[in-house]
């Protein structure tokens, strides 16, 4: 009785607390998205801002709504966009996989060290964030380019006769992408792995599973949510990444971020840029929503059989 009354009294307060993040999301995610969506249905115009408005109140009180589907039509008909989207997804997917393969052992090792040293290792993972992202990419440029530190060193000790092509190709693109996004994979993985009960592995071992078998039957399935969280944290921003492909990628690297930049700044075509962005958001949201539904169904389903 008392507890119920307490909850009742708390309710308005709790509502206020919960409403803050919702309000934040509404103001800074949903509203801007609808603005972008609105612009994507406009036409390019020589004005400020450089697009036509969708609604015009004409003489005689007639409200005229103009929806220009031309941008979307163009995206669908020109296979340049399809290729770019595909290539962006591919790059992001490969980056995510590399981050997972590298990040999992690192996160596992950190989770397994004694708590005193654990914080130092976590600090090292987060340390690069203390330097600007752009500066770190420039640092890589200084390392990788033809006259960069790596090539100078290798030439200097006479290991190679001519500089290695380390820069402006897929190698440098993936190297810097993985470097930049690795912490976003390690941290969620770590937070899942560190919570895992060590006795479960002892139990698996006791029941006859060797270390490798125990890893695949116990540790890996139990860290599934960490893998999903880390992959999302890497995959989603990697799809739209612009700076890294622009600065260290090869000339034929097709990334949607670059297309967006071109449409927006070079062609001054805001509606086209907005349409490209909208399609990208849809491409990302559909699989995430699908995955989410699958997850919840699995959570609810199993027990009631």
């Amino acid at each position: 009785m008392n507890i119920q009354r307490l909850f009742k009294r708390l309710k308005p307060g709790r509502g206020a607390v919960i409403s803050i993040p919702y309000f934040w999301l509404l103001l800074f995610f949903l509203v801007p998205f609808f603005i972008v969506l609105k612009i994507s249905f406009a036409e390019q115009d020589l004005a400020i801002p450089p697009f036509t408005s969708l609604m015009n109140l004409e003489e005689g009180g007639l409200l005229h709504l103009t929806l220009n589907l031309g941008n979307f039509d163009f995206i669908l008909s020109d296979d340049f966009y399809a290729k770019t989207y595909l290539s962006s997804l591919q790059t992001a997917l490969f980056t995510t996989l590399m981050c997972l393969l590298l990040g999992y052992p690192i996160a596992y090792a950190i989770a397994r060290t004694d708590p005193a040293r654990r914080n130092v290792l976590l600090m090292l993972v987060m340390l690069p964030f203390w330097t600007s992202f752009l500066l770190r990419v420039y640092a890589w440029m200084g390392l990788l380019n033809e006259n960069g530190l790596i090539n100078s060193f290798l030439l200097g000790i006479g290991l190679i006769d001519e500089p290695l092509m380390l820069f402006h190709n897929d190698f440098s693109l993936y190297l810097v992408m993985v470097y930049a996004y690795l912490p976003f994979m390690i941290l969620p993985l770590f937070s899942h792995l560190v919570k895992m009960d060590g006795r479960l592995l002892e139990a698996a071992s006791d029941l006859g599973a060797g270390p490798i078998k125990a890893f695949f039957t116990i540790t890996l399935p139990l860290s599934k949510n960490g893998i999903i969280a880390g992959s999302m944290m890497v995959f989603i921003p990697a799809v739209g990444e612009f700076v890294i492909p622009e600065l260290v990628g090869g000339p034929d690297t097709l990334m949607i971020g670059k297309v967006l930049w071109n449409e927006f700044f070079d062609n001054n075509n805001w509606p086209m840029a907005a349409a490209v962005a909208t399609v990208m958001v849809l491409l990302l949201i559909v699989p995430i929503a699908f995955l989410h539904r699958f997850e919840t169904r699995q959570l609810e389903g199993k027990g009631n059989e």
Binding site: A204, D206, L207, G208, A209
Partner: protein, 374 residues
Amino acid sequence: MVDAAKQSASEKPYLSIANIVKKFGDTTAVDGVTLDIQRKEIFALLGSSGCGKSTLLRMLAGMERPTAGQIILDGQDITKLAPYDRPINMMFQSYALFPHMSVADNIAFGLKQDKMPKGEIDARVAEMLDLVQMRKYANRKPYQLSGGQQQRVALARSLAKRPKLLLLDEPLGALDKKLRQQTQLELVNTLESVGVTCIMVTHDQEEAMTMATRIGIMSEGQLLQVGTPAEIYDYPNCRFTAEFIGDTNLFTGPVVVDEPDRVEIEAEELGGRIWIDHGITGPKGMQVWASIRPEDVRVDRDPVAAGPNAAKGSVAEIAYFGSYSVYHVKLGSGKVLKAMVPVNRWHEANLEPPTWGDQVYVSWRADMPVVLTR
């Protein structure tokens, strides 16, 4: 000759732990334990926390490597075998059930590691589920079960591979008291019906007494005494055991008389001599202890004949337990002696029960005290 050889072969212990030592850095967790276990025995290692019983169990399971010593199970030296290669299974404290697997998958886990054909696995899992009466819950996940149900699943999982030796680490420690008492007998029945050799670790003497055929008392890494529950209670071999199992009154003093038919101890705290009706082997004047159980102490209101095994005191405390009361009697030396007195002791003698501050006389028979030399 042949018969004698057979005899000695069958008497060979099923599990033999020889002089096992485990050191963690400078601290010695297990200090030279030697123990033999017979087939189908339910053996309890009893001791307070940090006494080394869990470390000993983990060495049997293979999760700790002994610093020295040898473990032989059914003729096979398993000292250096990895846990996953041992024919031993363990039921973990708080169970360690795999949270992402159903009850049936948890039980099947060990069988799958042995590459058992699927049909056989299904049959064995069904058999185990019936054994612990959990068939209805085969598809549940561990978090959907109560504590008692989880305990049964953990038991089924550890028995599924038909291990040569079953280890139980505080098997009922995670259950509340009422459920624990009920589960004790249920667990013993299951273990006996399966006929598995079993070592359990517990800090709960009642649990050990109820479940085990033999008990080993551990303290500071050493095995102090091994025996049946009755042997350990009636004939403790040291002060630790006497005080750890049940309750007791200890008096110390030098041996002043040591004849074949009696020993006399000059107990300063009693203000007199303790007389015991059998001899001991030891030098005269040696410092010994006498352990007298509270239920062996008689309390009288009227003076008893002065002499050994008796003293005068006043009631300092009375703890009422329904069918009996425990009197804390303060002796002249300041020592408090506990005496367990049945309630009808006073009714039968038509006496008013003594109350706080009353003068009483305590005494015991000469066959009651146990002499302890350490």
